[in-house]
Amino acid sequence: MTNHWIDLKNSDCILIMGSNAAENHPISFKWVMKAKDKGATLIHVDPRFTRTSSKADIYAPLRSGSDIGFLGGMIKYILDNELYFKEYVVNYTNASFIVNKSYSFDEKDGLFAGFDPKTGTYDKTAWAFEMDTNGVPKQDPSLKDPRCVFQILKKHYERYDLDKVSTITGTPKDKILAVYKAYTATGKADKSGTIMYAMGWTQHTVGVQNIRCMAMAQLLLGNIGVAGGGVNALRGESNVQGSTDHCLLFHIIPGYLKTPKASQPTLEAYNKKYTPVSSDPKSANWWQHYPKYSASLIKSMYLKQDPVEAYPWMPKLDDGQNASFLVMFDEMLKGRFKGFFSWGQNPAAGLANSNKSRNALAKLDWMVVVNIFDNETASFWKGPGMDPKKIDTEVFFLPCAVSVEKEGSITNSGRWMQWRYAGAKPLADTRPDGDIILELTRKIQELYRKEGGSYPDPVVNLSTDQWADDHGEYDPHKVARLINGFFTKDTTVKGKTFKAGTQVPSFAYLTDDGSTCSANWLYCGSYTEKGNMSARRDKAQNDAQAEIGLYPNWSWCWPVNRRILYNRASVDLQGKPYAPNKPVIAWNGSKWVGDVPDGGWKPGDRHAFIMRKHGFGQIFGPGRADGPLPEYYEPLECPIEEHPFSKRLHNPTALKFKGDMEQRFFCDPRYPFVCSTYRVTEHWQSGVMTRWQPWLIEAEPQVFVEMSPELAKLRGIENGEMVAVENGRGTLDCVAIVTPRFKPFKVMGQTIHQVGIPWHYGWVHPKDGGDAANLLTPSVGDPNTGIPETKAFMVNVRKK
């Protein structure tokens, strides 16, 4: 989130879309209700009327996968009706930037300039900005130049009129307008609107573009950096934000640094590639400090070596290599992996295309499962359709401790790092993950030292002593201190001298020469000489902070405890808050008061969006794999052969695979219904933990498929009877919940039915609970993230 949970209460208009927040983030509704108490309007846009919709002032039904139609239409509405916050747009976004003549968009073909059909990728240099002689983008602050971003934006969304939006989404026009009218009213200087979104937006082949579209709308309305605004992802696990920050994904390393590539043999080459350079003195270009963060990270891993010396030991990707989860399992199915650690996850039920995943596991020589309960991944070899005699995978199960049995921090959606203490002792010989990792690493190091190997250095030189206390036992405090970072020798930075071993007070003091270590620059400041900042539980606030519920002394958030990001955009160029009744920061003549400002510079001294090279919020976003502007494409499995925005049906850069298990079904009369997957309050993820909890199974005992009475009538299905949901990838037996909360959509003149299934169940337990919804989902993904398109695919439903 750019903002945080409590800040929701400051909003004048809350749009919940691509999310079912009341059900899947129930505590968030505490703050949504407080916003409503103050008069906020709550809007819910969703294929289905849910527990969230029941509390919404406006509910609008929308067919799964058609979000860019809806959001593109909202951008057109904002522009046509001049509802954008002009001063904000000119001063804080790249709306005034001039785009190079190489950029174009073919409205017929649905393609941006620079597409190579052979590779299915774009050459993004075609989308560059026009630079002046100093290398700073040319701008037209009047927003009139036909090649400025603002005019290009206007032209691009001209096609997204009400008729087209309604016919592609299936949303009635009056509902679309009601949403647009209510939400775009937040374009006023002192009003703010917020978006609460989740997997309903991300799990599509256009997932990233869904979010880009909303971010652009928020920039036009001046809703970023302000209280009650922002772009707010509701994370799906209590610590997935933490795991994202520490970069468990293949393409990044802790602190959102890039994973080194084989074509970058030295630290210098690596840093040069990823350190942006701006010649605009007003651009803070914060990533210019990249070399300090990369050096400090490497130093934290290899404390005894200079980062230049240790850099070659960092794991590398080949150029263009995609090692995301879907790719990993595709390679696994081809027999390319000997072994696999499935750590605190359940891909045999949780990953798209369960039959493919389960068959892939059968190709491994060995698998280590670290989890608390038996699950579909650990026991894949005795699952439905599996013959254990034909499977050679040796499975090791390491039972681990539960979160409440371990000490450590979790980071919530609002970036708040909160320390937790162990409540109960782990049962029997179950162990915390940290203990397991440390013991495993030490053993591997020992084997490398004894037996050698093709490249022992990266492993044997890891500074594991920094993960353990004086007794050699895993110590979360030690790791937390390492993550914050400390001075490795007596050092003077910015005129201050620090002794070796002192905790670094903030990332402003990190260095690029190995005199500091920090396992994650973002968390620098979280565990300082003052102590464990994330363990603070003080509710004290000054009046301005209390007005918007900042709680700066409760836990610690990154970066540097700044609660609302991009807050320089919440004030005008003189430092006066746009919303005087809910200011985030304000310039009092000599300093900033309120939240931690986005840099201490005087008002107007730096551009507001300090993390972007040029310093401006990106309405035109030339870094994405599938285009600088979101464009409408259908999900790869869709019910219609054409859409009104262009002749191109699908995202041309979507992640796809070849093979027997990769058949896709669109406009296939055998599978005529749109299907989505979702969640319920009572279960969590693939149900690994919750299916074993009797009170939760009591409340939601079995996998179900929700469908409209119209569809039920079509198939002769009664409420509560067992039905089969099927497509070419698998069949899932479910209980039918027939409900008018699902209604058929009128899309492109046809009646399109949609159904939905919760993905919490698996065959291991309970025996009558049902199997995984992912038996039906396709292994296709977003080109930027690789996330599977599990929210829109095609199925048939029939009586059993």
Binding site: K30, M33, I737
Partner: protein, 242 residues
């Protein structure tokens, strides 16, 4: 009037089932064996081992769902509990009323009562008996928690402020405040039996839309209304004490 009360603001309930599960957890009640019967409501009904149940009701107009109503049901801890007055005729120690809070408590001695008679005396259809032992059970206001300065488990858990608990005067004040505010959006909003019960629900529309036994308006015994029924009970007692 003294004692404690619940105020349950149904305009804030999102049916998260936190209250339903918290009650089970605090009282260490076993889970029922359930099936999905075509609804999210599970268990289907209150029982000897289910004191708190979230009921779901879709409101449909011309095929469109206009509302989805949630009713986290529990014993109303009536100010003048009919179940107690019926039980007192047999055993004054079977059903007790706590003098400090007003909580209506079923003891193990309820096993000697006629479970059907007790259930039918309740306008809200709450009491449920254990087939094996005959003991009757229901919400006990988490009296053990309340007497130790804690909130009832369901109230503690509720994230949205639907569940409230405190001194009766404060709860009635809160209820009336919320009613006034809610009426601006929902003109048919009403409090359910605020004078007769210690569990006051705020309904955004006609209470019967939520559940047939939401309020005591239509008693399960169509021959009497509540007043008449109590009068009928009291008469023999007065005579016997005569």
């Amino acid at each position: 009037m003294e004692g404690k009360s619940f105020f349950i603001d149904l305009t804030r309930c999102t049916a998260c089932r936190g209250c339903q599960v918290a009650c089970k957890q605090w009282h260490k009640l076993p889970a029922e064996k359930t099936k999905n019967w075509g609804s999210h409501q599970n268990p289907k009904d209150l029982s000897f081992i289910t004191y708190k149940l979230v009921r779901f009701q879709e409101v449909v107009k011309d095929g469109d769902v206009t509302d989805w109503l949630f009713f986290p049901e529990q014993c109303r801890h009536c100010v003048e509990p009919p179940c107690k007055y019926v039980a007192d005729a047999y055993d004054e120690k079977a059903i007790l009323k706590d003098p400090n809070t007003g909580a209506v408590i079923f003891t193990e001695r309820t096993k000697a009562l006629d479970a059907e008679e007790i259930r039918e005396s309740c306008p809200y259809n709450i009491p449920r008996a254990d087939a094996a032992s005959g003991i009757i059970s229901k919400c006990d206001m988490c009296l053990d928690r309340v007497e130790n300065g804690l909130l009832p488990a369901c109230v503690q858990t509720c994230p949205t402020g639907a569940m409230n608990f405190g001194d009766r005067e404060d709860m009635l004040e809160l209820a009336n405040e919320r009613l006034a505010t809610v009426k601006k959006q929902y003109p048919d909003a009403v409090l359910g039996d605020p004078d007769e019960t210690r569990v006051i629900y705020l309904y955004q529309m006609e209470p019967m839309s939520y559940y047939e036994f939401a309020v005591a308006g239509i008693s399960p015994m169509p021959l009497y209304n509540r007043k008449q029924m109590l009068a009928k009970l009291f008469t023999p007692l007065r005579t016997s004490r005569g």
